[in-house]
């Protein structure tokens, strides 16, 4: 069957991104050494910025393309913009990080782009098959990215771990999709919704199992308890720029697909089926994440557990089943991207080749040694802790508002109490930075324009989105209108 050429203009951002990524592969094939690395970094930056610009041309539309295999709408656009912002920030960090760590040049940036391409596909489809293809495209890119520090044993281990467990999770997801297809004969989420509206109340056993497996598969990608075991090890072992990329991008993409699938098709089942399961998962995720984070001495592991906890907060808004307030999830994910990329950039800035300095002791006395990084890091941590007027507070505020509005008072209370626990370990880092004397001699810190720029962007974004969240919430609100 012929595909009308006109339809391709709606997926221009994806096409463009693929083009740039392929170009990067070419550069990697023909050029070696630092010059090629710098060139690919700059090409990658131009590519991601131009893709973001292109994205603005297709916003405000709502189309199904290619026999409903692909969807272009505001919801997807919001997520795509988030991914591209993440990509831009990570690329800027990598301009220096990849050079310092001597990570392969062309393929590194190309993989970053392919990963984002996968994420973009994941959030812009109503079709299980397309979602699955996106998920795999993203995952495979990240399996490789994790292992890029070939000489580092931890990096290789983390990649292998992520690959094995990821493969498991993917098969769960696929099995879930297959069972849903098997019980209903439908592979499209919108059709599934119509089917249920017609057959209510009706839930074949096989379908329920399928739905459970979907939750397992997505739960793995968003790192919710009890599918979170891989997170700390992988986050710790992966190159830090990739950790930031995973913690923000993969999580956002997984939530994007999860919300789309569940809010489109399975909302009629909310009351009986999945909310109860996810209610428990949310509480466990928050609590386990926060409590385990309390005892971490490595800052990357601490941030890993904190990212688990944050997934728990987001799940709180997710289970409310409120079609309007689900926008708080989108807002939170955007805010979360800035907080985490900022924090990981600070972590990167403090390390150098071969020596990462991620144990908390190396943060002692940072306030005096390097006030700029300490101040930025404090802002990221305070935002993660949800202290106003930073964006982290606005995010939490809307998430818990959603819970309260839907009547989940206890969940909201558990959530806020959890955030008090979280304050303890975020403050602990601040405490080391400002209250303690350095324990050992640490070399000069060279922030450099790349890291400094990213941190400043994140600080600005957090303050701006915290004080004036309106515009971003409106965008998020417009994005979720597809569910009503």
């Amino acid at each position: 069957m012929a595909i009308p050429v006109t339809e391709f203009k709606w997926i221009l951002p994806e096409v463009l991104l693929t083009g740039w990524a392929l170009l990067l592969l070419l550069i990697g094939a023909f050029g070696k050494g630092p010059a090629a690395s710098r060139a690919s970094g700059i090409v990658s930056l131009i590519g991601s910025v131009s893709t973001l610009a292109c994205l603005f041309c297709v916003k405000g539309t709502n189309f199904d393309l290619f026999n409903r295999l692909y969807t272009v709408d505001n919801y997807g656009a919001f997520f795509k913009a988030t991914f591209l912002i993440i990509l831009i920030l990570i690329t800027i960090i990598s301009l220096r990080y990849a050079r310092d760590e001597r990570i392969g040049s062309g393929e590194y940036y190309a993989l970053l782009m392919f990963g984002v391409l996968g994420m973009m596909i994941m959030v812009s489809s109503h079709n299980f098959i397309t979602i699955f293809i996106g998920l795999e495209a993203m995952s495979i890119a990240i399996y490789i990215l994790c292992a890029l520090l070939r000489s580092n044993l931890k990096s290789v281990e983390s990649s292998l771990k992520y690959f094995l467990l990821g493969a498991f999770a993917t098969s769960f997801l696929l099995y879930g999709m297959a069972l849903i297809y098997g019980s209903t004969g439908i592979i499209d989420v919108v059709e599934l919704k119509e089917y249920f509206l017609m057959h209510q109340p009706f839930a074949p056993q096989m379908f329920i199992i399928g739905m459970g497996l979907l939750i397992v598969g997505f739960g793995f990608k968003i790192a919710s308890v009890p599918f979170h075991m891989w997170t700390p090890d992988v986050y710790e072992g992966a190159p830090t720029s990739i950790t930031a990329y995973m913690a923000t991008g993969v999580k956002a993409a997984a939530f994007g697909a999860l919300v789309r699938v569940f809010y489109t098709a399975l909302l009629p089942f909310g009351a009986v089926g999945w909310t109860n399961i996810i209610w428990i998962i949310a509480v466990l995720t928050m609590s386990v994440g926060n409590i385990t984070a309390l005892v971490q001495h490595d800052i990357k592991r601490m941030l890993a557990y904190s990212s688990i906890a944050h997934a728990g907060y987001i799940l709180v808004a997710f289970i409310t089943g409120d079609r309007e307030l689900i926008s708080s999830v989108l807002f939170y994910l955007l805010v979360y991207a800035f907080m985490n990329i900022g924090a990981f950039t600070a972590v990167i800035a403090l390390g150098k080749k071969g020596e990462e300095n991620t144990d908390i002791d190396s943060y002692a006395g940072l306030g005096a040694r390097h006030p700029f990084i300490a101040l930025c890091m404090s802002i990221f941590l305070l935002s993660l802790a949800g202290i106003p007027p930073l964006a982290g507070f606005a995010g939490k505020f809307y998430v818990f508002s959603a819970a309260v509005k839907a009547g989940y008072y206890w969940l909201a209370v558990i959530g806020v109490l959890n955030s008090v626990v979280a304050v303890y370990y975020y403050l602990r880092v601040m405490m080391y930075m400002y209250f303690k004397e350095p324990v050992r001699e640490l070399g000069q810190i060279n922030v450099g324009p790349q890291y400094g720029f990213v941190m400043l962007v994140c600080v600005f974004a957090l303050i701006h989105m915290g004080v004036f969240p309106r515009m971003f919430l409106m965008l998020a609100g417009r994005a979720v209108r597809i569910f009503s």
Binding site: G367, A368, L382, I387, P388, P389, F393, F397, F400, S401, V404, K405, Y409, A412, V413, V416, L417, S419, V420, V423, Y424, L427, M431, Y434, F435, K436, P469, R470, L473, M474
Partner: protein, 523 residues
């Protein structure tokens, strides 16, 4: 009603912040410049707050100097600030004490001077913002914002156990306030379901009809948050640690202003929003207040450390404030507000004098002193006056407040009055005993013989404190006249609302409320 068209409150809130931002770029190797800059800034701030006092229309009901700008209209969040007679005096206290604190840190702070003053200015912004905010979200933001600078003040410039104290302070207060956040959100949606309007405007929410059972929950969440801040017995345990470890200026501002945020929160939010629950909570809160009064006094008596002694005496004094507030009569309420100011001045003053001898001797143990009156006569005089004001000797500010509170307490329930009065006696006992051990007798320790008496800067600080102690003691009318109308209005409003909840079944109809009251409040 705006007396002046200048956005004076916004200026007051953000001027210190602006100063802090400018200081960020100052050269850290010029501490003198930083100190002078901050001092000038805080004096200007105090100067700007004075017109508030003189232009404040003491007969007008409702909020004055109101500014309202929509912030996030779809959610009903606005930048809404305004003051009445209650917040007016507390704002003046804040701007005044900030000047004092800058002065008293002059020599005490030697490390990271720049960061210190930045933190302090930041704190001032948060405090004044909290006192002005009339939008619940705005209030919560400022409320939480106060924690960070205080955490840093204790943690960086504090004593040996500062880290423990700082974290304890942060976690205790934060734990209380997050529950308040949930209550705020719940109240907001409750109001929306009843009226169809999204609003965080506290004056509008005063009119919300809340089922009494829900009021218990909401009041509980608000009261917990405020009670931790006050701090009421048995939630006070963070206070002695924080006070003892904080630098002098930190203790002064903590005692002087931050604790008042708790009591102010009761007056502005917890009680008028949930009057029925507040009335039902009278026995509980009054009992805890009386326990606090007596317990604080008894524990003070046993303290070997001067700062800890004053810290526990704060628990006792704040017990009076709570007792007066929950007497729900004019004497009690006015006495309670007056006592908030008194405590800021007297206890602030006590921390200052302790800070002064600590700078000289680097110890705060009572046992290390004795006979100081012979060595430092000027110091002894000031110390005496401040001690007497803390004991509430007639003629000093403390007397007026405590007397009114006891009147109010007797009027509402005799037994609370009787028990609270024993606290007065205990208070005199521990303060005078402390004073005697530190100042009188022969000089027991050799090191104390050569202590220098006060310098000009220190005399200046204490003279201003003593000036207010006497002024507020002999001419209280000047201050009462500013709050009379507001307090009367507050009380009649709370009483009327409570009566409504009792008579018109569970939930009063908002429209049945006297329209005049609504009008007055919105004014």
């Amino acid at each position: 009603m705006t007396v002046m068209s200048v956005p004076i409150l916004t200026f007051l809130i953000f001027f210190p912040l602006l100063g802090a931002v400018i200081l960020l770029f100052a050269d850290r190797n010029k501490p003198l410049f930083i100190k002078v800059f901050t001092l000038v800034l805080s004096i200007v701030e105090f100067g700007v707050s004075l017109p508030l006092f003189f232009f404040f229309d003491d007969r007008a009901k409702g909020m004055q100097f109101v500014e309202k700008v929509p912030w996030f209209p779809e959610w009903g969040i606005s930048y809404f600030v305004g003051i009445d007679g209650i917040s007016l005096l507390l704002i003046l206290l804040t701007t005044f004490l900030t000047v004092i604190c800058v002065l008293c840190s002059w020599k005490a702070i030697e490390v990271r001077v720049k960061e210190y003053y930045i933190t302090f200015l930041f704190l001032e912004t948060a405090m004044i913002g909290t006192l002005c905010a009339l939008d619940l979200v705005l209030f919560y933001i400022f409320w939480e914002l106060m924690l960070i600078p205080m955490y840093l003040l204790i943690g960086i410039w504090g004593g040996p156990r500062r880290i423990y104290a700082a974290i304890k302070f942060f976690l205790f207060t934060m734990a209380g306030s997050v529950l308040m956040l949930i209550a705020i959100i719940a109240l907001y949606f409750l109001n929306y379901r009843a009226t169809g309007v999204y609003t965080f405007n506290v004056l509008d929410l005063y009119q919300a009809s809340i089922p009494v059972v829900k009021q218990y929950w909401f009041f509980g969440a608000f009261a917990l948050s405020f009670a931790i801040k006050v701090p009421m017995f048995p939630l006070h345990t963070w206070l002695p640690d924080a006070h003892t470890e904080a630098p002098t200026a930190g203790s002064v501002i903590l005692a002087g202003v931050l604790l008042k945020m708790g009591t102010y929160g009761f007056l502005r939010f917890a009680i008028p929003l949930f009057p029925a629950a507040a009335y039902d909570a009278i026995p509980l809160i009054s009992t805890l207040a009386v326990i606090g009064i007596i317990y604080g006094a008894l524990v003070s008596m046993m303290q070997p450390d001067l700062k800890r002694l004053i810290a526990f005496s704060s628990v006792s004094h704040l017990g009076y404030v709570m007792l007066g507030m929950f007497a729900f009569n004019m004497q009690g309420a006015e006495g309670s507000i007056y006592q908030m100011l008194n405590h800021g001045i007297s206890t602030g003053g006590l921390f200052l004098v302790v800070g002064m001898i600590y700078e000289r001797r680097h110890t705060r143990m009572i046992a290390d002193f004795g006979g100081l009156a012979r060595v430092m006569p000027v110091f002894a005089t000031f110390f005496m006056i401040i001690t007497l004001s803390s004991i509430a000797l007639p003629g000093t500010n403390g007397f007026v407040g405590e007397f009114l509170i006891l009147l109010g307490a007797f009027k509402s329930n005799m037994w609370y009055g009787v028990l609270a009065t024993t606290g007065v006696i205990l208070g005199a006992a521990y303060m005078l005993w402390m004073f005697q051990r530190v100042m009188f007798g022969v000089v027991t320790k050799e090191e104390n013989r050569k202590l220098k008496d006060l310098g000009k800067r220190e005399v200046l600080i204490l003279v201003t404190m003593v000036f207010f102690i006497i002024l507020m003691g002999v001419y209280p009318k000047m201050f009462f006249s500013k709050m009379d109308t507001s307090v009367a209005q507050y009380l009649s409003f709370v009483k009327a609302r409570n009566a409504q909840y009792r008579t018109v079944g569970q939930v009063p109809d908002a429209s049945a409320m006297g329209k005049t009251t609504v009008q007055n409040l919105k004014n």
